[in-house]
């Protein structure tokens, strides 16, 4: 069959008066250029373009971090060299903060310690407060006390955030302070999640309770951040938006960790199966809404010829997510809670990848695919049959 098609096409090309072999004897420059432009159809594979971009972005970020680290090390050297020779200027940077905090914890300094506890972002004593918290975390030996302390720290950040939002300050000052809080909270939530993973699973009651507390705090914090974001003008949000998105993501991880912990301990008396089902259904419903929202976005933003290939990839991912969510629903109904959790995790991974693709595709021209201008030119100079 393919041989017949090949023969037919060969005859067709040979018979083509404008462009084929026979006509090439009198091929005009325009015909020749049209034929060269057939090669425009050669383009890199979408998945290669996307993965190479991700690798490139990673390399760029790593390079930047390395530079920053080198700068910090240099600054640290400078700091300690001046310490030895001159009386140092007391800049409230992290190094001083840590030294003072350890001094307070070990030596029992009272006045500065109490003062720092009341300090808010932007205050000179705020780095001392953060360092004291770190020192307390290091000094607490049991997992339970560490998680409890982390929950307290998140509470503290929540209070600070509400103070920052309520303060009558310039937008820039406010944004700087919110950023400071957000940076710290992200660290705390990630550390709490990590701590939870290492928790002693022989005490399910404590582990589940801790996971619940962290999940609730993360949720409260996400809501507080949304409020804080609203209090700032749009022009200074972009960087903060990214950080808030990262914290929200960490919060979602905390939520998943809670669910995982409950399912891992579903046979213990402390965990109610109904609670797990409710939580799983909430997750599934949230993801279904996310899929619908992205589907709408695909329809609105990716209908241009420039974005057809990425649109095709996104639609495929949406279908996969829908399919997996359906299976997750079935697994919940069948009582396979661990199976449902795994399916939810798979959908989350797909969704996260799709979100990144949508985000990256906001650039004016999409990664190496045939652009609308290319398509228009091809339409103007179609392959003559």
């Amino acid at each position: 069959m393919s041989f017949v098609i090949w023969i037919l096409s060969l005859v067709r090309v040979l018979c083509n008066k404008n462009q084929g072999f026979a006509s090439s004897l009198v091929m005009t420059e325009k015909d020749l250029i049209n034929r060269i432009q057939l090669l425009k159809q050669v383009s890199p594979k979408d998945d290669w373009v996307v993965s190479t971009r991700a690798k490139l972005a990673f390399r760029l970020e790593m390079g930047r971090k390395k530079d920053l680290l080198n700068k910090d090390l240099f600054a640290l050297k400078e700091l300690f060299s001046s310490w030895g020779t001159n009386s140092p200027k007391l800049a409230w940077n992290a190094v001083y903060g840590v030294i003072i905090a350890f001094g307070l914890v070990l030596g029992g300094g009272v006045v500065t310690g109490i003062a720092s506890i009341q300090s808010a972002p932007g205050s000179p004593l705020y780095p001392v407060k953060l360092s004291m918290e770190k020192a307390r975390l290091i000094a607490s030996f049991s997992e339970e006390s560490k998680i409890k302390l982390q929950a307290e720290i998140v509470d503290s950040r929540l209070q600070e955030l509400s103070v920052v939002v309520a303060n009558q300050e310039s937008a820039e000052q406010k944004a700087e302070k919110v950023t400071q809080v957000v940076d710290n909270i992200k660290e705390q939530l990630a550390s709490a999640n990590d701590q939870l993973s290492k928790s002693n699973q022989s005490e399910p009651k404590k582990v589940v309770a801790a996971a619940k507390v962290i999940s609730e705090k993360a949720s409260q914090f996400s809501k507080a951040l949304a409020v804080a974001k609203e209090s700032l003008p749009a022009n200074i949000k972009p960087e903060l938006d990214t950080k808030i998105a990262q914290v929200t993501e960490t919060g979602k991880q905390a939520d998943m960790k809670y669910l995982e912990t409950m399912i891992a301990n579903q046979n213990s008396a402390e965990v109610k199966k109904e609670d797990i089902v409710v939580k799983l259904n909430e997750e599934i419903q949230g993801l279904e809404e996310q899929v619908i929202a992205r589907e709408k976005k695909i329809a609105d933003q990716f209908s241009l010829a420039d974005r057809l290939p990425i649109r095709a990839v996104l639609i495929n991912q949406t279908e996969q997510s829908r399919d997996l969510l359906e299976k997750a629903n079935q697994a919940v109904a069948a009582g396979d809670l661990a199976g449902a959790l795994e399916l939810i995790k798979a959908v989350k991974t797909i969704e996260s990848g799709a979100d990144k693709m949508v985000e990256n595709a906001d650039a004016p021209e999409v990664k190496g695919v045939a652009t609308s201008s290319d398509m228009e030119k091809l339409e103007e100079n179609p392959v003559k049959q």
């Binding site: 096409s9 084929g20 034929r35 432009q37 050669v42 390399r59 990256n360 392959v383």
Partner: protein
């Protein structure tokens, strides 16, 4: 000229990766190798563009790509893949009939084979002008030649390609 930020550089990547890949692909005629060399173009370019800006990043990417392809052939002492090895995957076009697809694919291969028979200088000038649609001025900048010399080269390259296709 300002140095490039990461964001600007990634935007440049999005804009030019397809064309740089295509240029390299036609020069080396192997998909994986074209992918590797294209990645290298952007990594090497970042090293320069993050330290000093350039007025025309596209021309800069092509210069880096050109040097990498030249280095590749020089170091590995490789010759381009033989014509017999040049086969393309069928072009996927949902609107075209199998017959149309076969015809286009066949014609594409003929052009591609003819292009491969040209000297590297002729190949790249045709790719730049008619596939990537660079202006003569921009090609002159990449090749470090006058615009007149580029026009002459282009005319000869087209003449030779036409000869190969007849």
């Amino acid at each position: 000229m300002d140095k490039f930020t990461e964001q600007q550089f990634l935007e440049c990547y999005d804009q030019h990766v397809g064309k740089i890949y295509r240029y390299i692909y036609f020069r080396v005629n192997a998909e994986e190798l074209a992918q590797d060399l294209t990645s290298e173009v952007f990594l090497k370019s970042w090293q320069s563009l993050s330290l000093k800006g350039v007025s025309n990043p596209r021309a800069f990417f092509y210069q880096v790509a050109r040097n990498l392809v030249t280095d590749f052939y020089r170091k590995k002492d490789k010759t381009p893949i033989s014509l017999e090895e040049i086969t393309d995957k069928p072009i996927s076009d949902k609107t075209a009939s199998p017959l149309d697809l076969a015809a286009v694919s066949l014609d594409m291969n003929l052009v591609k084979q003819a292009l491969r028979q040209l000297s590297p200088d002729y190949q790249e000038i045709i790719i730049w002008r008619y596939l990537d649609e660079l202006e003569t001025k921009e090609i002159a900048e990449i090749l470090n030649k006058s615009e007149g010399a580029v026009r002459t080269l282009l005319s000869r390259a087209l003449g030779e390609l036409r000869g190969k296709l007849t």
